[in-house]
Symmetry: C2
Subunit: 139 residues, 2 copies
């Protein structure tokens, strides 16, 4: 899955996604992060989050998905990712990841891309961050 | 699973892990990051990596696992994570995640923890990074 995106500083693109409780449970099992905050409703009800929250790493994995498969897609070498978990993310809610090209270094085929996640309904930012990637075809 | 770790600046702890190709495939399916670099031997052979590599996010998920379930464990609020993917990680190799407490802000119950992954055999660093976490019981 590749889409045409203008490879210039300031251009941005969006990707919608959500996760189910079953996917959160699968992520916990796969990674070993079985903190009850992510699956135990009674436990979560006693916390500031009130209900189970998605693992930050699972929510942010949309960056890996999009950078590796949509833009820049094939040939991407993932160099770094910063992420700030600003607000909790919950299952079955609609989220949108927004990517904005900040810097392109054509001599090194590298780009710095702002990577952010917003809850669609509230438009509040849940994850703020940026990635550095290398892609010989795209940059 | 909780272990006794000295909650002071400079103390460190280690956690061994590895991933199988089946786990890499499951991560790709779960997150949608189905870049052939992670599962297609013929495709990977044509790249600088020579064979399929683990998704950076899957390798780095050891940070989420350890911070959420081992130290500081229960009650941890994950505030941020930086990670630099220094070298590729491969399936069925032994890796060690090393956590070193850099800063403790007791007034805010927060800590900055250096998070790094080394390949056990070569002792070369594969992921460099740091996390900021809040835990009212531990800091």
């Amino acid at each position: 899955m590749e889409i045409e995106i203008e490879n210039k500083v300031g251009s941005s693109f969006k990707h919608s996604f959500s996760f189910s409780q079953e996917e959160v449970n699968a992520f916990g099992k796969l990674t070993g992060d079985n903190n009850p905050l992510h699956w135990d409703e009674n436990y979560a009800a006693q916390t500031i989050f009130k209900k189970p929250i998605i693992h930050g790493f699972l929510g942010a994995s949309v960056f890996s998905k999009v950078l590796g498969t949509i833009f820049p897609a094939e040939g991407t070498v993932y160099l770094s990712q910063e992420m700030k978990f600003m607000r909790p993310m919950y299952v079955n809610l609609a989220y949108e990841a927004v990517f904005t090209i900040q810097v392109i270094d054509a001599s090194k085929h590298r780009a710095v891309i702002l990577t952010q996640v917003f809850q669609v309904e509230t438009q509040k930012m849940c994850i703020d961050g940026k990635a550095e990637v290398m892609n010989e075809q795209k940059f």
